[in-house]
Structure formats: C-alpha cells, structure tokens
Symmetry: C3
Subunit: 140 residues, 3 copies
C-alpha cells in the first residue's frame, strides 16, 4: 500500500503538470484577430469583434490581440481612420501589435505608429504562435 | 502484483477520462464556418463549403455550424438571396446560427430570421468557443 | 519497490506515447494557408505570408501548405498571374495543393494546373484535417 500511495502522488503530479495544461482544455479565453486588409470597414469590424468579446465575457475574462500586418498596417498608423477607436481599445486592455517586417517593407518608422501600439517581428509568425499556444483565431 | 493491478486499472481510468479526450487527437470532424460579410457570393461559398464537407466525409461524419454575425446577418434574414439553400442546409443537418447581439444592434426581430436558424448570444464568442472545443475554423 | 519501478517505466511509456504528442504542445511550426478568392492581390499576399514565415523561422523550421480551392483555383492554373512565384514557392519547399473537387466542377484537367502543384480530393477537408493535426490556420 505504500507503493500505491507514492504511485497516486506521482500520478497526480504528472497529470497536473502535463495533461492538465493541454491547450484548449483550459477555459482560458484568448483570441488573436488578424487585420491584413487596407480597408477601414474591416478595421472597424475587427474593433467591434474585440469590443463584443469583452462586452460578452467581461474584459477581465478574455485576452485579445489584434495583429496588423501587410496592407493592414495602415490601421495602426498615425492618421488612421480608426485612431480614436484604437486608443479606446488599448485603454480597454486589447493588445494591438504592428508587424515590424511590414514596417521595414513599407519604410514606416515607429514615429508613424499610433502610441499604445506594440510590436512583433513578423505578424504571420505571431498569428501562428498564438494558435500554437491555444488562442482562437478570428479574421474579420 | 495486487498493487500493480490496481495501478493499471487506475491509470487506464485516468487516461481514458483525461488525456484521451484531448481536442484534436480524436478523429471527430467538426467545422465552424464564419459568415461576417454582407455578400451573397460569400454566402454561397460558405454553403458550398458545408455541402462539400458533407459530400466528401458523409453527412453523418461531420458536424458543421455556420455562424452569421455582423454584416453577415443578412444571410439568414427572410428574403435572403440564399434562403432556399439555407433551408436545404438545415434539412441536411448543418447548424446555422444567428448572432443575437447583431440582431439587437440592427433591430432585427426573430420573425425576420429564416425558420430553422438557431441563435447564439454573440457570434464571436461562439466562434471562439467552438475552437476551444477543438472545432476547425473556416472563413470562406 | 519492484512494482514501483515497473510503474514508473509504464507511466513514462504511456505519457511519452500519449500526452506528449498532444497537438499544440510540440513546438512544430506548421501553417495551412487558404486561398479561396479569385483575386491575384490575395494570391500575392498568400505567397508573401509563406515567404515571410520561411524568412523569419528558417525554411527548414516551418512546414507550409497553400490550399487553392473554389474561386481560388485560378491561382494554380497555367497562365496564372503568379505562376513564376508559385514555381519559386514550390522550389523553396512550400507545398501548394489544388482541390480536385473544384477541378471537376470547373472542368479543369491536370494539364491545366502548374507543374509542381500537388492534389487533394477536397480543399475544405484538407484545411480541416490540417487543423485537426495541429497546424495553424491563415487566411490572407
């Protein structure tokens, strides 16, 4: 019976450390939203989707990241048609990130990116990584 | 050896209950299809995709849910350009759901939604939940 | 203590075979890219996305599959506006596949498909399967 006790302890520990952290089984709400179009209507949809996720789940219960890359980079540039809404989203806890690869290709400097926006090396890699980490994907 | 027998039984039970139900490892075919554009061509693509999944896998072997929200809500309103095809899809076992958030925003009542269509509180939350449950995502 | 040794061996084997291969926990980089629009601008985006994934991660460290189906089939037909880039992508290790269902519907023969392109029975099923296998999804 001593062996059994050790076994049960070990098994519990292994399962807690291993299987229990399988992506998707945890009830964590995490959504990565892709913005790759140069289209203000679609930018507004992305921001609406983020807002509705927060409204429905409670802002504290969902992590949202909007990845702007390729032709979608314009969404996060100063003078963007949705710059006010981006300020609001950032203040509301949505993480908005710009793709540095796209910035280099389009010769856009950080000074031309709205304040509050964060950076990732490559937008497509970020979107892949988030899915690998168990985030849901949304393309408005 | 008695301890070993108990161990094997316990281990089997734990693995059957836990690890064996990990999303993605089961061969269950489940696809959530997003419709968020006000574009009949895209509605037809979504319905084609659903039909092709059923034709290829057998309707009994795949669960399909089409989520109409935002500008895509028009797909499931009475008078929709694809209302006949929606009837067929519903009869064929595809679950088509309308977003109640969008209905409230657009002041659309249930009487204006095609019969056979089901409802979800928030389309974006539904799409996230389905992915959390291991469903594949498709945006036509 | 003998039982414990056997237990630990068994447990290790079971966990190595089972839980350790859960999709998403492995650091394997695999991305399925959907091309379902008849739009050369979007074809170029898909090819850019594939190239940027390889540039950032190293071509040896990421598996990429582009699935052309529905109105997107034109991307991989002879005379496609991006035929040169498709040659380059194939040579660079990206797997580009055409949907045979779409080919049948559009009466397109294999002679009309660019060399180097592979085939799948149904594009939508392929996209579902890849996600079931833990691949990330990208729709440019």
């Amino acid at each position: 019976m001593n062996a059994m006790k050790i076994f049960i302890l070990l098994l519990s520990a292994v399962l807690a450390a291993g299987c229990a952290t399988v992506p998707g089984t945890a009830a964590k709400n995490r959504v990565v939203i892709q913005v790759s179009d140069n289209d203000p209507a679609r930018w507004n949809l992305a921001l609406n989707n983020a807002r509705n996720l927060q409204a429905d789940l409670g802002a504290a219960n969902v992590e949202i990241e909007i990845v702007a890359y390729g032709p979608g980079l314009n969404m996060v540039k100063t003078g963007s048609a949705v710059s006010n809404r981006i300020d609001e989203a950032v203040l509301g806890g949505t993480n908005i990130v710009a793709c540095e690869n796209t910035m280099a290709n389009q010769k856009v400097a950080k000074e031309q990116i709205l304040p509050g926006v964060n950076y990732v090396g490559a937008g497509v890699v970020e979107i892949m990584r988030r899915q690998q980490q168990g985030w849901s994907y949304l393309r408005p």
